[in-house]
Amino acid sequence: MSETIAAAPTVDPNGPYEAEIAELTRTYHSDAGRFWGWVTSVDHKSIGKRYIATCFVFFILAGLNAGVMRMQLARPENHIVGPDRYNQLFTVHGTAMMFLFAVPVMTAMATYLVPLMVGTKEVAYPRLNAFGYWTFLIGGLFLFAGLYSNTGPDTGWFAYTPLSGPEYAAGKRVDVWAQVVTFTEIAGLVAAVEMIVTIFKMRAPGMSLNRIPLYVWSILVVSFMIVFAMPSVAMASTMMLAMDRLVATHFFNRAEGGDPLLWQHLFWFFGHPEVYIMFIPGLGFVSAIIETFTKRKIFAYPVMVLALFVTGFVAFGLWVHHMFATPVPQLGRSLFTAASVLIAIPTGAQIFCWIATIWAGRPRYTTSMMFALGFIVVFTIGGMTGVMIASVPFDLQVHDTYFIVAHFHYVILGGVLFPLFGACYLYFPKITGRMMSETLGKWNFWLFFVGVNVTFFPMHLLGLDGMPRRVYTYLPEMGWGKLNLIATFGAVIIVSSVAVFLWNVISSWRGGAIAGPNPWGAPGLEWATSSPPPPWNFHPVPVVEGRAPLWEAGEELPVATGLATDRREVLITTALDAIPDNRHEHPGESHWPLVMAIAVGVTFIGAVWTPWAYVVGFAMSAVAFGGWGWPRGEHPADQVTDGVLPRSEAR
């Protein structure tokens, strides 16, 4: 692919900007790498990297849970774990995969990529970004600390009351769950806010709405969904469930006028959009991958964008289809059925567009591309079953059975993991400056592809054969043994595939082939800077004149100059047409985000035992806020953009 590297135009660091670059180096100097520098860093790339790494650690831990569960279910009446342990395992598996991996890993990737893709120097609110990460980390550790201290939540990842209420869930297990949810929701909301602002106000000059990369669109949609969905569950878990359990409120106590169904509504109002929050970024990745490896702009860009928005919108009209077995009026059911069926349309549309793109383009079957295709193959199956279970009568048969387990694993593994692996192979060079091994990559892909289907396809049959989910064992007479054994075998394959992936990452990081700025000849701005990018991403900032800048620009990418280099200054552009608007100085390294996160940690973890934790926590937060908001030197924060002019126009 040497020729592509040559072909790709980049911002040449050794151009006329040496002096400024030198100054930038001083401005952005941090002793990142040393511990203190590491904890105080606010660079979205370093945060993004550790975010991604953390997510994968949780992914592996939660995956191991699944492994044990599969072992337990491999044979009827198996005694590897008892019901008590098993319930903790599947609850933590679900919780971790949802709250600590699927959603945050996408946030993490976005944290790293979006600023590069929109061609800005930093993410909006860099310290908030750091704070988000620390909060997430504390929450994640708390969950697994719980599991390993036999305090793992054991009421399922949607913790239905009253089973999760004070009377039936003894001890602190469910409290741990409730607070972990809170931590992750905070992190999620924080990231969403940054993304929305970054995308709306910090795009490179010229990157008008109709030139925003599809991945960035998907992140924008998801960020909005997060803002609307997550408060619902945060309130339900932190306020209501935690308060019921800690200080005996009666939100979910039917006897005193509360209502257990209220929980289900609040949870699923978040829980269903959550599914789309997980895989819409995946769709974005697939677009990016297909675009890159077919060397062709995605077909019907407006349709794709529209599809994303429709999906994001309709996603909020589906939650009741998780509750068909509860008292819901006939009409209501029909409406939610209709919505659940119709949401298939936008996704379908996207799939057709990708196919068209492939048809019209020159596919190169790299590992990344393979994963993108694998996504279409696997995810579509999940989509099909999804449409089926939108049907009330049918859902009432398979609801809470292994059919559902199969369905959502197809959707999530198909919609999240395939694109994610694809994205890893695509962006690894950008992040590390080295290529990943394609051979290992192919192994990784095929093992994963086979593993997923071997594991989860039989579950459809198990479900139809009457096997409920969340059972720690089953009777030999049920005749579910064979299929379960197969599924377990499949799980082993998946594990091996992930092992290969990890090995590939480690070895490539150590000694992969050196990648240039743009090894794939991709069109996005993120490829217009060195790999790995400098702390300031771009200098000078690029100017965009089309949807695929690097393909459309000639030898040299137009740039905009004039941003100060003696301080961390970023360019603010208008929301619609990305016309330079003004410039804004960003803060430097700070330890306050960490302090703040610890304050939050003390509050919520302490609240598992005593309400006084809130008092203490608020005090600590106040201090942290003070330090955070302390005035930052004499530089006028914002200035008009005199002198900042796109070069191209200067010509």
Binding site: G33, G146, N150, P166
Partner: protein
């Protein structure tokens, strides 16, 4: 490798965090379904449940469940199932004396309460020897002690899914450390 030093620092922090929490959790969260050997008092046939049962040596009996959350919630359930609540209400008493105050006619230690349940007491407390297995008696003991906040609040459930019994407080009232006060018998106590 500067990065490594970072990694090491972080992993150390993580490790110590995990360790700390794990120590905290275990005892309270244990679910011991099956004491081996499965323990239960042998079923003996008796004329009347209301006469004190055969004396039992409980001197070196120790509550295996003190501060165990699961045992406490089990005890709470059994307290209703076995009609303890019928006489003692939800701790406030009625036909029987209250269990949430600081007056304990026959002692408030786990052993005392165990003996009271097993042997009964002369002024109306029936003997449940041979009717409630040892494990469950200890679970009841654990719950009963929680009523007067004698064991860990961390293990206690804040409320049941029933009528609000203790208006104005989560699980129970401002704890009072019980003192064993021996009241004059018969006519004075229910």
């Amino acid at each position: 490798m500067r990065r490594l030093s970072t990694v090491r620092a972080v992993s150390f922090a993580v490790a110590s965090f995990l360790f700390a929490t794990s120590v905290a959790g275990c005892r309270r969260e244990e679910r011991r379904f099956r004491e081996s050997p499965p323990s239960a008092t042998p079923t003996t046939v008796r004329v009347s449940a209301l006469q004190p049962g055969t004396m039992q040596d409980t001197t070196h009996a120790r509550n295996p469940y003190e501060n165990n959350a699961y045992a406490q919630s089990e005890g709470q359930r059994l307290f209703g199932w076995y009609n303890c609540a019928g006489c003692h209400a939800n701790g406030g008493g009625g036909m029987g004396p209250p269990l949430m105050d600081d007056q304990w006619i026959y002692g408030s230690s786990p052993e005392n309460i165990y003996t009271t349940i097993i042997q009964g007491r002369p002024n109306g407390m029936p003997s449940f020897a041979g009717k409630i297995p040892t494990t469950q008696v200890w679970q009841l003991v654990t719950y009963v002690r929680s009523l007067s906040a004698q064991n860990s609040t961390g293990a206690r459930s804040s409320r049941t899914d029933h009528m609000m019994m203790y208006p104005g407080s989560s699980s129970l009232q401002d704890p009072e450390k019980p003192k064993n006060s021996f009241r004059p018998p018969a006519s004075e106590m229910p």
